[in-house]
Symmetry: C2
Subunit: 365 residues, 2 copies
Amino acid sequence: MTSRNPHAARRAELLRHMAGIGVDGLLVSNRRNIFYLSAFRGEDSLLLVRRGRSQLITDGRFSEQAEQETRGIEIVVRKKGLMATAAATARRGKVATLGIEAEALTVAQAEDLRAALGRTTLKPVRGLVQRQRMVKDAAELAVIRRAVAITQRAFLDTLPHIRPGMTEMEVAHILDRTMIELGAEGPAFETIVAAGERGSLPHARPTERRIRSGEAILFDWGARLEGYCADLTRLAFVDRIPPIYRRIYPLVLTAQRRAVAQVRAGRKTGEVDAVARGYLKAHRHGKDFRHSLGHGLGLDVHEAPSLARGVETTLRAGMVVTVEPGIYLPGRAGVRIEDLLLVTRKGHASLTSLPRSIEAFLIRS
Amino acid sequence: MTSRNPHAARRAELLRHMAGIGVDGLLVSNRRNIFYLSAFRGEDSLLLVRRGRSQLITDGRFSEQAEQETRGIEIVVRKKGLMATAAATARRGKVATLGIEAEALTVAQAEDLRAALGRTTLKPVRGLVQRQRMVKDAAELAVIRRAVAITQRAFLDTLPHIRPGMTEMEVAHILDRTMIELGAEGPAFETIVAAGERGSLPHARPTERRIRSGEAILFDWGARLEGYCADLTRLAFVDRIPPIYRRIYPLVLTAQRRAVAQVRAGRKTGEVDAVARGYLKAHRHGKDFRHSLGHGLGLDVHEAPSLARGVETTLRAGMVVTVEPGIYLPGRAGVRIEDLLLVTRKGHASLTSLPRSIEAFLIRS
């Protein structure tokens, strides 16, 4: 039995997609796409994927790292410019139509490439690798599960340290440090710790605002591990739960449960969003839910598919998505509950397991 | 007497350069260029510069900030996509040939723009605003001088805290924190604190390596203030100066002095580099000077002009450049001395004033 290199399998699948659009070489410039297809984590490099052997074009600073991190890829150490070397490599490989990642190459880079390409045709493509990345393979799921475990453990370890009078930034710092101590590369995005009325800002950055007894604290955080992200949102309460939260928290929780129940292969992402949005609207909080329901997650914290109004992407088994409805009452309160789901053929599996009841994280000061 | 808005003056000068290349509208997408021309510091926005009134194209998140930060610019709050709105704004302004920043726009963005432009011609240009940014105006020089003052003060305040046994990271943290306490937005780049033989790595990141008595510490640091950068390099020694430094430090210092003496309007940057390089080569350390002599500095830590081998850029009054020769002996020692100069018509003015003698920063533990 052969244990197949997941990166080689991903390149093989990409070659099938490339054939479908008439491209026999793809110059990958998006760094996360390069990592996804080759395991290389250096900078200032390009990956040329084609039948036969793919090539990683890099420079002397990264050549040793490239040899160590990749398998089955030829390392081309450039002596000329990056685009000139990429063009020469494509010509040497007899590429007839070279795809470029339109969203990850500047106009200047494309001009330089075109000038050096000779008779090879250049074809801008969009989202090709990103669409493939939507469905996670076993190697990716294993890493995401470990990232989630660190994310959850760090939260539980942080809660006992919280005291009234601490600032949002101090709490965020403890949570970030704990994730790193547990093995994360770092936070996957800037950790949100929003006290009291600041929870109404969907993207609040932690401030010097002090946490008080009788307040809610909204946490939105996640660890990055081996390039992959986790993303969770929970509320904690200090000493007691303010009445406004007794009213809106159950609405958000029910909206989330109803949306989660819709997650399965074959469903359109916009339909899942509509279930949560419709429920909150029926309870007169439609306008207080100011963002989309969720997003794909992997090497990027936000990646395809988007779970948003009107989006027609069909869920497929192997996709990993967040479901995170919220109610935001500016200057008063904010609730968001976010979990991470793996789409399966018959439904879904929750990758996150922290409890969701309103009493779950009641801190006694 | 009118006190002229420096940003309006910069846009007026840019319009003259644009006329010279047959462009009657320039869509500025590089964030630092947008700040340079408008004082706007938000994200996801574009500046359309044209005769009459320039327009800043942004969205609801940044519209209030845009009104506060800019003067004499029309704020366009988009409801459609960024490129579609930019195209509509250019058409409404009757732009015939729209320049785009080839190095700061993706192929996908250019495609979207072209699709929405109608009869307006698209013309990719390179380095147009960057060339203008090489020569600093009075407002910029005032900020750079204040950034340098914070940079120097923070270093002097940090030295007394250094003790053998502290790690490079601990020292870097004190220096960074001190810059912020003195009013900086933060470090302009990742602060280098390299102990002993680690000074031979020109871009060493601070590590857990502990500083020992009898060692050199190489500092390369600078504050960012109101968007502008400072950049300095000095060596400190703990208790005593190792013999190897007694030999190579004076060579680097003389190389720097000779190069600095060449800095004046009219000189080619490559000629200045050649003076330092030639001196070190004559003393058998040509190969140990592994990088270019210096670089322009302003909103970017590294910007045009480059002071490097063979570069033909002519120095002009108002340019701000670093002069930073070095000798690197891998595994043994590294010396670099870096100062910041303002080019003047008859010579130069040093913006930095920390002493450069080998004994200047001898720390007693």
